[in-house]
Amino acid sequence: MSTTRATPAAPPGGPAGRPAGRGEPDRHRWRNRLHRFDMRYTPYLLVAPFFLLFLVFGLFPIIFNGVVALRHWRLDDPTLTGWAGAANFEKLLTDDDFWNALYNTFGIFLLSTVPQLTLALVIASVLNRRLRAQTWFRVGVLLPYVTPITASTLVFAVVFARDTGVANWVLSVLHLAGDEPIDWRSAKWSSWTVLATMVNWKWIGYNALLYLAAMQSIPRDIYEAAAVDGAGVWRQLWRITVPMIRPVVIFTVVLSTIGGLQLFTEPMLLEQNAQAATGGANGEWQTIAQLIYKVGWKDLNLGYAAAMSWGLFLIIVVVSALNALITNRLGGGKR
């Protein structure tokens, strides 16, 4: 700043002037206050939409679900909304449909989770090699992920038709079929197999990518050391890779537990008359989520459906915890 320029007389409160004298011009005080307000409160405004919407449409319904479960709440008779106490839950305990659905859900869940995660692991370890067209393969395994379950289930429903389905045709060509074509929808084992196939098809690639991501961060020296000690490919996979990516394995186990126990679309659309939600003529493959839909929106008994969903919730929590524990052990975590 040259001294030749005389200090201009700042007009009081003028737009261009620096604060003259002692008193800050109003504008600055205002800006200051604005700044402090901005620093202190804007963050809350930024996170508010999430919490507001979550409270209203996420948390509140789950809590309110508890209230509904303790009441009579029928869609066909709105006057019947009295207090039911534990009646809905007591009914649950002796409801054959519920236990049958629970049995089915677990059966399908086991049939799908185990092969799904094992295969995903193998695919991931192959994808982890130096490959040509790597991206192409990775995108390829995601085809099922972007295909609507609704659409793929309908395809599988045709593939597993009794008389005209490709599945039976392939089996007969391979001479694996008996004298009669398999009626996939008529027994538990066969319908469970069909549903597990659908679930596996949908999620193997996705899980493989999760595993691949974790595998890429394993230090390479470890493999070298193992190879020097004479460990083969499979030994390396089970002894090094799996333990090293254990957190992701646990993550996928929990994820597929939550997903598997809520299985809905596949069992719904395997049925010829989808919206009846019966899961087979005798409930061969009716899952809990499907039963909740049937009780709530076909039998119009929302109170009882709410009780069922609480039951399902508890089961999911318990199974997830157990799963995490077991996976942790298997991976060699705690001895």
Partner: protein, 301 residues
Amino acid sequence: MSGTTITPQAPRRRNRRRGALSGRAPADTPGSVWNYLFLSLVILFSAFPLYWMLVIATSTDAALARIPPQVVPGDQLLTNLREVFSMQDVYFVQSLANSAIVSSVVTVAVLFFCSLAGFAFAKLRFKGRNALMVIVILTLTVPNQLGVVALYIVMGKIGWNGTLLAVIVPGLVSAFGVFYMRQFILEAVPDELVEAARIDGATTMRIYASVVLPAVRPALAVLGLLTFVGTWNDFQWPLITLNGTDYPTSMVALSDLASGNYVLYRRVLAGALVATIPLLIMLFIGGRQIVRGIMEGAIKS
């Protein structure tokens, strides 16, 4: 190193050293023929239902009843499509439009709200930040689906059941989105940049618009693709709240098509094909990003 000679130049990367005995890390092993064969089978298995959808959607009823089955696409696609689109009580055209509306609105909203919240959690200081972030992470593990009965009642009270609002509004934010954006912003936006912008007198929103948003574009692309695909494919809640109305989403319309005692699968799957194509296009355009997004999400969670 136990040798007496001191190598003046250490090997640049340890895994480059390969003696007669030393092995290779899997990531350095070139894929063998078997690997390619195996992966090709996996891709074939992945693509099979899509292909079969095409076969059925292009066939006649007679062709579908034949054994051995027809294994190549037929030439009846237009006929089947015309039938789907002209079914009065299924509103298929309307349902596609609805799916497009729902998915687009939800995607834009998720991108906006989640990047805002992610920014706040990653770069701003405020009381209760950590506690609130824990809540976000906890909500990731609670399946919202378990509240559907009550959600249906709530929507009934506000009068939204049967309208697209019932599907759109609960989807406007996502805990996964907040988490994902926060992780990305933590790394992609240097603190110094935020500080510098502050000193220049930028407001928080100004910083969001001119510093954060440009930096998170890749993450927005990934989250956008994942959200769009997820919303388009959602079935249970739309079925509950929109079933039997004139405003189904395409997934609900498909299940309508597939309900009844005499289902024409060529017709249903022609519809399914149409409802799947937008997603295949997305995978085609954004496949790389989707893969990267899923893999990044895995490491950090």
